[in-house]
Amino acid sequence: MIAAADGPPGSVVPALSRVEGWQLVSHPIVLTGLAFALLGCASFVRALVTGSAISWDEDGWMASVGVLMLGILTMVATNHSALRDRREHTVEQHATLPVRPPVRTSGLLVASLWPAGIAAVLVVALAAFGAAKGLAPDSVELIHLAERVVSILLLGAIGIALAAWVPSPFVAPVVAWFLFFMTPGEAPAAWHSLVPWETMNSTGLAMWHLVYLAGLTAAVAALALAKTSRPRALIVPAIASMTLISVSAVVLVDGACPSVGRCLL
């Protein structure tokens, strides 16, 4: 007989995330997003090379939008992956295997690191090239770049949570469309916007916004797992993520908004 399990069930997550990660980054939808990100970065590189770039705010926005598109399309792709068993009629077949659904969901959540990693490489290369051309991003701009990367993780988790709770292939594309057109938000601190708090101009507030996005990512991941996990297993992550979201949101609104009501909507 072949040896029994190679390790505890948790050790399956890295193996699963490698396979799912590769499937994600080779998915035509993510490749399209990557093309948008490269296009956005290329426009900034061109401005840097020709010497017409003035600042990251003025000239780097195309790169930001490109990476945002990568994130939104990653959401569609993770949703597509999470619905694979339904689409390919393998739900029952795979239900006879020992790895439980939450472990599979965890593998897919971790797989979002792949497109996020590619985005990280892109923005680091862009920042390095900018610095070489005499336009190094300042600390706030660096944190904003990091936010784009974390946004990809958040959007990847949203795609998986949508598949868990609304298992229809039509939902994620609609949400993607909606997200693209409501981002950036009208209000300076709109809670729903992925690129909010544009008025933030301090490293502290920018860092808090990063914490806010990380909290949202953890909360959405817990929501994705909640469908198949034992509720007790999610109490600590849920409380931790809600705490992060609440504290960071309070600090941000207090620091960035002259009028709370106007900020949040």
Binding site: I2, A4, A5, D6, V19, P98
Partner: protein, 289 residues
């Protein structure tokens, strides 16, 4: 006492008002056991219960000496189980290797090197080594069937459930399948649900006929064939007294049922016995109705 891997006692399963299983009891041990039965007899329902994806409405089930209603036991059963469903699904965008590799991960094989060795082994066993890098959507129907078989063989399961494994296979592939099943190492418990009686004759040491959700016959293929001894006859014309009759290639008619006194009887096959048994069950049900 026979060592059993799969024990079902008084198992009931209803779908709406239909009794798919009506107090089914059987015990199956190592070796190849064939399940025969008409469509809707309850074979697939029984296989799904044995595969731990369907819970019975009544009765008790024990698999590999464990209780599938217990969550931990169920996981342990799944570690030692191989299942080829009647209508297997595939990840179309994956290659054959990637698909089996994915299933291997879900069978808790996390060590990449060992897993890849095992994936190559089962693909070779199923005769798919040469097309391992081909996308599933580019494989023929027979190849996909073998791919589904390959994934069921991962980690040499102790209980292997095969629901119509030879459907869609050409004669050569069917022979290769028989060779493969008969040479499985460590003498696992193989339950083979099929309509192909040749597979039963060629492979199974035991055959169980299910009809109407209960066991109608349990014995060797030879014993099953013997139940039709003296009830098969050949005549030049169709005989209305036969339960079933058909015209053969040479123009004569083969009949099964209760033969007339002067009939020219023929040696019974497992097909004859099965048709006779199922035909009588159906007639009995019609009379009861």
């Amino acid at each position: 006492m026979m060592q059993t891997t799969m024990d079902l006692t008084g198992v009931e399963k209803r779908f709406g008002g239909v009794h798919a299983l009506d107090g089914l009891s059987l015990g199956i041990g190592p070796g190849v056991t064939g399940l025969l039965g008409p469509n809707g007899a309850g074979k697939t329902t029984m296989m799904r219960i044995a595969a731990t994806v369907l819970a019975p409405d009544g009765g008790t089930v024990r698999l590999l000496d464990r209780d599938p209603t217990d969550a931990d036991d169920r996981v342990e059963i799944r570690r030692r189980l191989g299942y080829l469903p009647q209508e297997p699904g595939f990840y179309q965008r994956f290659t054959a290797f990637e698909f089996v590799d994915y299933v291997a991960i879900l069978k808790e094989m996390s060590d990449r090197r060992l897993r890849h060795e095992e994936v190559r082994r089962v693909l070779d066993l199923a005769g798919l080594g040469d097309v391992a890098s081909r996308q599933v959507k580019a494989l023929s129907g027979g190849m996909r069937r073998r791919l589904a078989f390959a994934q069921a063989l991962l980690r040499d399961p102790e209980l292997l459930l095969l629901d119509e494994p030879t459907a869609g296979l050409d004669p050569e592939q069917r022979l290769r399948f028989r060779e493969l099943v008969s040479n499985l190492p460590n003498r696992p418990t193989v339950v083979l649900s099929t309509h192909v009686t040749e597979d039963i004759t060629a492979l199974c040491e035991r055959v169980i006929v299910i009809a109407g959700g209960v066991v109608r016959f349990d014995g060797t293929p030879g014993t099953l064939a013997a139940t039709a001894d003296g009830r098969v006859w050949i005549a030049d014309a169709a005989d209305p007294r036969a339960t079933l009759s058909w015209r053969m290639g040479d123009g004569r008619h083969r009949h099964i049922g209760d033969p007339p006194a002067d009939a020219e009887t023929a040696a019974a096959t497992i097909d004859d016995a099965y048709l006779l048994m199922v035909g009588e069950v159906r007639v009995g049900q019609e009379v009861a109705a």
